[in-house]
Amino acid sequence: MLRKLIVQDLKNQRRTYLMLLLLSVGCAIVSSVCLVIEGLLSSDASSALSAMGLGLVMGLALLSAFLSPVAIVFSVAVYYYRKMVTDEAYLTFTLPATAKQTLNAKMISGSIWMIVAAATIILNTAIIAIPNVLVHSSDGYTFGMLLKDIADSFLLYYSSVPTMIVGNIAWLLSNLATLLSQLALIYLCITCGGILASKHKVLAGVGLYFGSQTVVGAIMETVVLAFNFEYLVGSYEGATILYYFINALLYSGLTVACHQINKHLLQNKLNLA
């Protein structure tokens, strides 16, 4: 049943989200092309008008390249709200599935889209940056040389390749945990708004989210700052890696806590008016 729910959620969302993702990558390509053209034009050839036009297209494309993935994140929250709080929730909660399965499916499908959106932002950054670095660099500078320079820049922060790999894994886990904790918190706030508020459910959910974000952020930073990592580990790079792992652990804990509270509310406090 969980697999069916996940597939259904992904199917329901794919049309809109794939369109947004393709739009964002397309805009990144347009933006990159505009930047390359702008760089290749000599100062005699470019007139004020063409520079303005080019700038406008590039600006819009740049915005779209990064706003589209952000729109996906917003849409994931709206989808959860529609399926769990509005009239469509009548269908959701009469399917032969437990509240736990329903919530797990939403969490998994939402996480997939959020990770894809985040990956798209990184991809768009590469699409925009790489051609322009190659165009604006000295003659003979190749893509292979660029990759080597990027790899070398990582080693500025780490003493060896294994440490660099561990550090980047830690960084990835930390950001992944932060992303998933945000999703779990958004879902929990929407559920709280839907179940606990008799009126203004959306406002209640939004208010709860920003309020809890402030509190959670303050607690997390306090806990992390309480550890003097460099003293504990004895090196800056070790402290950085430890910071990322502890961050990942704390935000994973937050994800689990939010998810469990949400599950409890849906199992025991469901009141679809």
Partner: protein, 236 residues
């Protein structure tokens, strides 16, 4: 025979408001069409939603086919709410796919035949359909399931008389004699001829539960007349 629905001291209060259901105890047998009748605010919809698993009781117990409300009961209960619960952006064929995927008892061929008779294009989006057609599509989806318990909340409210006749005939045509239909409505005169038994509910309690034929035979009244008599007394 085990009853299809058992309620024991079932109570439901919304927020800090009055009781929607007040210590309700009753059992419904299998294989009947039962009218759930009562004035506005009497607790009909609350009872149906509790049975469908959309509400949690404040206290008391409710069981369908001897099972607590959960995924297993939702697999054998087919619920038609009084509002549209299908996503407006879904197509009719996507709704059919959804029901086929999740409900093992969904008879897709029967649903497609009913939609064909209604001339509803399966490629149409729900939002492009009229209100009446949307309600009919929902009814088709619900009645195309071979469920053990059908919960129909005001299925003929807000539609024209011709549509009412269609809905009632659809219910009867697709009704399995081993299943139970619990149907709530205000339009008693339209449905009393199809009912095997009825429940009068007022202020969250069952005040009368009897066979529809008993009212006609013992009292010489239609169910509609009996309803007006009973609830006129309460109104006074």
């Amino acid at each position: 025979m085990e009853p299809i629905l058992q309620c024991s001291h079932l109570t439901k209060r919304y927020d800090k408001g009055p009781l929607a259901l007040n210590d309700l105890t009753m059992e419904l047998p299998k294989g009947e069409i039962i009218g759930l009748l009562g004035p506005n605010g009497s607790g009909k919809t609350t009872l149906l939603k509790l049975t469908a698993g959309l509400l949690t009781p404040t206290c008391g117990e409710i069981a369908v086919n001897g099972m607590r409300i959960g995924a297993a009961t939702k697999a054998i209960v087919s619920y038609l709410p009084e509002r549209t619960y299908l996503s407006p952006t879904m197509r009719v064929d996507e709704c059919l796919n959804l029901f086929s995927t999740f409900y093992a008892d969904f008879d897709r061929a029967r649903a497609e035949e009913m939609l064909r008779l209604l001339s509803v294009p399966t490629a149409a989006k729900i939002k492009t359909l009229s209100k009446g057609t949307r309600e009919k599509v929902q009814l088709v989806l619900v009645m195309a399931r071979r469920a053990k318990l059908y919960l129909l909340d005001e299925p003929i409210a807000g539609v024209d008389p011709a549509a009412r006749d269609y809905i009632l005939s659809t219910i009867l045509r697709n009704y399995d004699s081993e299943s139970t239909i619990l149907l709530s409505t205000h339009l008693i005169s339209d449905i009393e001829n199809v009912l095997d038994s009825f429940l009068f509910i007022r202020d969250g309690r069952v005040i009368c539960h009897d066979r529809a034929s008993a009212v006609r035979e013992m009292r010489g009244q239609t169910l509609d007349e009996f309803f007006r008599e009973v609830f006129r007394c309460y109104a006074n």
